[in-house]
């Protein structure tokens, strides 16, 4: 059990980061404001989590102008999707072990 917990990715060690990744793996590009609304986060909070995921190269950023407004969108990279999947698999394994432990 201890062994498997160390396999959990520290880059995802926060529910908001897991939330960001959840949204990005099922969508192509997601705008900053959409993320903010879906996750119900403040600007500072969201920005810091995005920065952490970006520096891990799990997400990529696209900036462009729509009319005169700058618009920032985010997408999960292939590495990010793979890491997220591994993380979910590990979570699942932990839960399975916990359940088996309960049965005994």
């Amino acid at each position: 059990m201890k062994n498997i917990i160390t396999q959990l990715n520290p880059a995802f060690d926060h529910r908001n980061r897991l939330g960001i990744m959840s949204i990005l793996v099922v969508n192509d590009w997601v705008e900053y404001n959409t993320l903010k609304e879906l996750l119900n986060l403040t600007d500072g909070n969201l920005a810091s989590h995005l920065k952490a995921l970006e520096s891990a190269a799990y997400i990529t950023i696209q900036k462009r102008f729509v009319g005169r407004k700058p618009q920032t969108s985010y997408a999960a990279t292939d590495a990010g999707k793979a890491a997220f999947k591994t993380h979910l698999d590990t979570l699942e394994a932990i839960l399975r072990m916990a359940r088996e432990g309960e049965d005994d």
């Binding site: 793996v25 959409t34 879906l38 979570l91």
Partner: protein, 214 residues
């Protein structure tokens, strides 16, 4: 064990975020019920115009009757177009109202990336079907219009179901089935149209309302 509970809660939250960010879930069942009522009213008005009854054993079919009808100062083409447009506008307006209300109650927005995607997915088959039906009228083939609208509307729903509640897919498949049946049983075109746009909408709409909004 509280660790496990925490992880479980995290998983549940992630699943909800995936659903909510990729699908438009505020579509109200009442929108369907309202659209169905509009369609039934439209069908009733058409029967009045033709001076016929549904499932009647009249010697001629409704589309033959249509060609020789000139009532209320309108040829059948003008009348069909006006009625179809009125039904469409009323159904959309009411549909928007109920869906807006559901979204507001859930604390979501009606107009966002997911609803936009759903509408774009619907638009392509729907516009194609609209132009296709206009062409049928243009070439004096009124018998094929009713089943064609069912088929194209069904395709639009199947396409849109990828971006909204899954149940919409079954509604779409049922509309396609009725439309294809109508292509062979031309004489029952109006009855099948009323069944598809009227009764199916009401049935699916109330079912979805019971399932998600009560």
């Amino acid at each position: 064990m509280s660790e496990t509970k925490q992880q479980l809660a995290a998983l549940t939250e992630m699943r909800a975020l995936m659903e909510r960010s990729s699908r438009f879930l505020s579509l109200s069942g009442l929108s369907g019920v309202w659209a169905g009522l509009c369609a039934l009213t439209g069908a009733a008005v058409v029967y009045l115009y033709l001076g016929m009854r549904p499932l009647s054993s009249a010697p001629i079919s409704y589309y033959e009757q249509a060609v020789r009808t000139l009532r209320w100062g309108m040829s059948y083409k003008t009348f069909f177009l006006v009625t179809a447009l009125a039904v469409l506008v009323l159904a959309l307006a009411g549909g928007l109202f109920f869906t807006n209300r559901k979204a507001r109650r859930q604390g979501h927005k009606t107009w966002d990336a997911s609803s936009r995607r759903m509408l774009i997915a619907m638009a392509v088959p729907l516009f194609t079907g609209g132009i296709f039906s206009l062409a049928l009228l243009h070439w004096d083939l009124p018998a094929l219009v009713a089943p064609a609208t069912l088929v194209f509307y069904g395709l639009a729903l199947v396409n849109a179901s990828k971006f909204t509640l899954h149940d919409v897919e079954y509604l779409g498949l049922s509309e396609i089935a009725l439309g294809l049946a109508g292509m062979f049983f031309l004489g029952f075109g109006l009855e099948l149209w009323a069944a598809g746009f009227g009764i199916l909408h009401i049935a699916y709409g109330s079912w979805m309302y019971m399932k998600y909004e009560r």
